[in-house]
Symmetry: C2
Subunit: 180 residues, 2 copies
Amino acid sequence: MSAEERRTCVVAVAMSEFARGGYEGTSTESIAKGVGVSQPYLFRLFPNKRAIFLAAALRCIEMTRDTFVQAADGVPPGEVYEALAVAYMDLIADHELLMMQMQVQVAVFQAKQSGDEEFGKIIRRGWTDLYDTVCLLLGGDHETSTRFMASGMLINTMVALDYAPEDRLWGCMKFLPCGP
Amino acid sequence: MSAEERRTCVVAVAMSEFARGGYEGTSTESIAKGVGVSQPYLFRLFPNKRAIFLAAALRCIEMTRDTFVQAADGVPPGEVYEALAVAYMDLIADHELLMMQMQVQVAVFQAKQSGDEEFGKIIRRGWTDLYDTVCLLLGGDHETSTRFMASGMLINTMVALDYAPEDRLWGCMKFLPCGP
DNA sequence: CAAGAAAGTTAGTGACCAATCACTACCTGA
DNA sequence: TCAGGTAGTGATTGGTCACTAACTTTCTTG
């Protein structure tokens, strides 16, 4: 397998592992085991652990964006919000991508605390791009777009906290407007 | 100093340290140093590291709830939403409590993955209580309450990602209704 | 087929970390 | 005054982790 293919494979496994354990809570050993290579070989493919995390973080944002773009493809304007909402729910159904998103959020803060401004800058670029994509798909309406993002963040929290689907707090979500 | 006073002190320091580094990224040594006691003594005050984190997490939720209750005290019904919003912004101004909140969210998921259901149960109880408190203060209106929480979660994300105050994405936040 | 590059491994290092143990210093009440 | 409880420490330990060095294997190509 070529180094480039291996790298792609590492990123996929890393996303899943980092989502589960966070940056500090995930060992490079566990990633290597998941990929099926020796742990030192990871450091041939990436300069250090942080670079693996960054690659996984970017892939996570990219996947979310792609999902939205595909979900809105060929959908009449009036039904795009609903389509995006459904697509997002599908995307985070297995909690992996969602948790990686949250891990990235805390990692940006931690990176900044330890003097690394670059990481945050790169992630913010990805997020702004994600917002712009959503906004474009929703016809450029910032109010609807922002409300969509806010609802998504609340859903993230409830999923992370593992509220049961039948919990009454989920019932409150129906009050959030699902269309513009 | 009595053990109980020490424990309170440990929780305060732990909140700050865990907010900065997360659960795995914070050593008991650094907490002990912050408190001004030896590291082994922490394990006299708490059974293990996880118990320290749990205590800090609960204190974090409690502080948020208390802030809301105090902010709404004596405020006419029509102005409570605004008062809560301002109080929350003040509360998270230094990012410490906010980051602890997010660390708790990812920690619940991680705890569950490693078979600890109890941690999540306790945290959810705190969160449900927090929501109920907000809902009560907002006159029992679930739509407004849920929208308030959703806005808070989006603000959390933007603060964690360290978006500059003048970033255009903050401008979008003004579209979120700040009153019922 | 020779030779070099690319893919991949084994062995190892220094640093760190949660938790334990055995100990000291101080206070309090009979 | 002395016995027992409480606050607190130094030393240590078994284990983990990111990362490196040096080596082997496999593929490609002139």
